[in-house]
């Protein structure tokens, strides 16, 4: 427990200390207008590994900036979206993609919400049926008797 707290604390301190790392000047990578569009479309699909719920496009974490630079370089080299995503998943795993590929490991992730909705619908249908049966009229309505009852009202 104490160790967990310690590493948690260490993480917080690391996070605040990040500014002290060396930032090297890198030459700007020019993109054509078409490449720039591809670059901008690609970034929101890529997860920042430091902040985890931000995309590389939104994050200002140093690693996100580095990865943005790498991706920019790959776009400039004319790499396809598939090749660029492979470059990233080869290093960081599927986690770097906001939409991981569908396979045996991610099947529950992709199908789970649908399965839960289906289960809920099934439960709802069963419940409605049961209550309907409980409140169903016991037999056909006798129209004459009903009219007589209504007429008796003052």
């Amino acid at each position: 427990m104490i160790r967990r707290l310690m590493s948690g604390l260490a993480f917080v301190i690391t996070a605040t200390n990040v500014q002290a790392q060396v930032v090297t000047e890198k030459p700007p990578i020019p993109l054509t207008a078409e490449q720039d569009v591809r670059f901008r479309e690609l970034l929101p699909d890529l997860r920042c590994l430091v902040c985890q719920n931000e995309s590389i496009a939104d994050s200002t974490a140093p690693l996100a900036l580095d990865l943005k630079y790498e991706v920019r370089g790959l776009v400039a080299q004319g790499k396809s979206e598939r090749e660029i995503k492979k470059y990233l998943t080869d290093r960081y795993g599927d986690f770097v993609l906001f939409r991981p590929p569908f396979d045996a490991r991610t099947a529950l992730l992709w199908l789970g919400p649908g399965l839960l909705v289906l289960l809920g619908l099934l439960a709802l249908v069963l419940h409605v049926r049961r209550t309907r049966q409980a409140h169903a009229p016991s037999g056909p309505v006798d129209a004459a008797a009903l009219k007589k009852l209504l007429d008796e009202q003052p």
Partner: protein, 177 residues
């Protein structure tokens, strides 16, 4: 009987949370486990400082014996936490430690290790963090365990601990360690 289904659902949720919440979401599985260490060529940081032209080291030179490759930096607080344990480990001589100094200034590095001691056999400088990206590093400290063939067999994320060393890493290094 009326409560059977809600109770089963509740028990299921408790089980899911019990196992699910024990995972640290900051610890991401590395796709590099079981693969050869990614290629690199980095300058060796002379320690203590020297005027000789810096030597360079490549990934292929890491083969031959099991190693720990530790990505660290003098600016990283988690690295301060693990430093005493790495010093202990270096003193026992059970395994060689290769340090990759991530986006750090050589002067800061020397000041820190000069004061606290140097557990690393060679220290390599990854000034731009490019080798870090190739190794899938997303936050120092991270430690890779390489076998004698230069294949990554394990990755430890966060400060190295005596417990991780004993339970996870030493068993991977074989009988000698």
């Amino acid at each position: 009987m009326r409560f059977a289904i809600p109770l089963i659902v509740l028990a299921g949720l408790i089980a899911v949370f019990f196992f699910g919440l024990q995972h640290d979401p900051r610890e991401l599985p590395s796709p590099l486990i079981g693969k050869s260490a990614p290629a690199f060529e980095l300058p060796i940081v002379p320690f203590p400082a020297s005027d000789a032209p810096p030597l360079r080291l490549t990934a292929s030179e890491l083969k031959g014996k099991p190693l720990l490759v530790n990505f660290f930096a003098s600016w990283c607080a988690g690295c301060q936490v693990e430093h005493p344990f790495l010093m202990q480990l270096a003193q026992t001589g059970t395994v060689e430690l290769v340090g990759i100094d991530y986006k750090d200034a050589d002067a800061d590095l020397r000041a820190w290790l000069g004061q606290k001691g140097n557990p690393y056999a060679p220290i390599l400088a990854d000034l731009e963090g490019k080798v870090g990206i190739d190794w899938g590093v997303y936050g120092v400290p991270e430690t890779f365990v390489l076998n004698a063939d230069g294949v990554i067999v394990y990755k430890h994320i966060g400060p190295m601990t005596a417990e991780a060393w004993k339970t996870k890493i030493r068993p991977l290094l074989g009988a000698g360690a």
